[in-house]
């Protein structure tokens, strides 16, 4: 039976799709059969980040409507074994994700996969609620910035009440924080909320901290999940996050300003 994970944030543009692609790829690299689903009906993007945009034939809504079966719609990643992508539909019909349909497709996928990563759209509308409803746990992607933190708290409120588990009398799903676009230099200057600040406010466990990194844009330009750029800081930070997700003990990296020597301070500017 698969573990269903929703990657969510409330606010747009904080790195949900980048994170979904990286976590799904990281899980597959470790040999887990993994699928990543784009829930953003109307605005398909995961396919671009995963670099499979030209291989999309059928999409999530096609499978829900019975126009295609799962095997036809799932795109097998060419770089990493055990990794499959289910792209979003570009229909403008926001009602296309029916509750029954999503449940049926996830149920079918749960028999095939170890992990199903649901890339939630921004906002708190239907797509976001659908992505969260069936999840066993959540990764809340947050930037160290006021509107993102506030929206994450809002999403945590929704995760605590509007999921299938809660409606059936179960416990709210555990949500873990992934702090992205973190700049230790700006934190040290007092210009950016620190890990501790965001942790104090949201009061959830920390899954990881991804530094602000040029590697992320380079990766999306190329259609390569950034975790495959194993040399990069962001790639390594995502790899740490995947390790922690699987219960490994990984110390935080890239969260402190590198110490400079006397000459570095003198000439570093």
């Amino acid at each position: 039976m698969a573990r269903i994970v929703v990657v969510t944030s409330g606010k747009g543009g904080v790195g949900k799709t980048t994170t979904s692609a990286a976590i799904a790829t990281g899980l597959a690299q470790r040999g887990h059969r993994t699928a990543v689903i784009d829930f953003d009906v109307g605005l398909r993007n995961l396919d671009l980040i995963m670099g499979c945009e030209r291989r999309v034939v059928y999409d999530f809504v096609n499978v829900i409507n019975g126009d295609a079966n799962l095997k036809q719609a799932l795109i097998r990643d060419k770089r990493v074994e055990n990794l499959y992508i289910l792209p979003a539909s570009q229909t403008r019909d926001k009602e296309a994700l029916t509750e029954d349909g999503v449940e049926r497709v996830l149920g079918e996928m749960a028999e095939e996969f170890d992990y199903i990563i649901c890339d939630s759209p921004a906002g708190i509308e239907r797509g976001a609620l659908m992505a969260a409803y069936h999840a066993d746990e959540a990764v809340v992607v947050t930037n160290p910035e006021v509107s993102s933190v506030r929206d994450s708290d809002r999403i945590l409120g929704i995760l605590a009440s509007k999921t299938r588990k809660v409606e059936q009398g179960g416990d709210p799903m555990p949500g873990r924080l992934l702090l992205t676009r973190y700049s230790p230099e700006r934190v040290e200057r007092g210009e950016m909320l620190s890990i501790e600040d965001v942790g104090d406010i949201l009061a959830i466990d920390l899954l990881g901290v991804i530094p602000e990194s040029q590697a992320v844009l380079n990766a999306s330009n190329a259609g390569q999940p950034v975790i495959l750029d194993a040399e990069s800081d962001a790639g390594q930070a995502y790899d740490d996050a995947v390790g922690r997700f699987l219960g490994e003990d990984r110390p935080l990296r890239f969260v402190d300003v590198p110490k400079r020597g006397f000459f570095g301070r003198l000439f570093g500017g």
Partner: protein
């Protein structure tokens, strides 16, 4: 304030301002989420009643619901202006 105080008191860092603002708004929104559905409407009506007698700000009425065992306690705070005659 002497010239040395100027050097000793740096401007408040923007991250601290951000954290304080967030703590306030997040606490308020959590309280609104966890309370009964009628709280916002009741808050507005109370505000109208109070304004029949005293001119108060929009945020003069603060409500909070606490649970203590089986008992729910509705806490109501009304902030009156410092000077009722409005002379400041």
């Amino acid at each position: 304030m002497g010239i040395f105080d100027y050097f000793r008191q740096p401007r408040q860092k923007s991250a601290n301002v951000a954290k304080e603002r967030l703590q306030i708004i997040v606490a308020r929104e959590r309280a609104a989420r966890s309370g009964p559905d009628y709280l916002p409407a009741m808050q507005q009506e109370l505000l109208q009643v109070i304004r029949k007698y005293v001119e108060v700000d929009d945020d003069a009425v603060q409500m909070n619901v606490d649970r203590e065992g089986d008992c729910e306690v509705l806490e109501l705070n009304i902030t009156l202006p410092d000077h009722e005659d409005g002379t400041g």
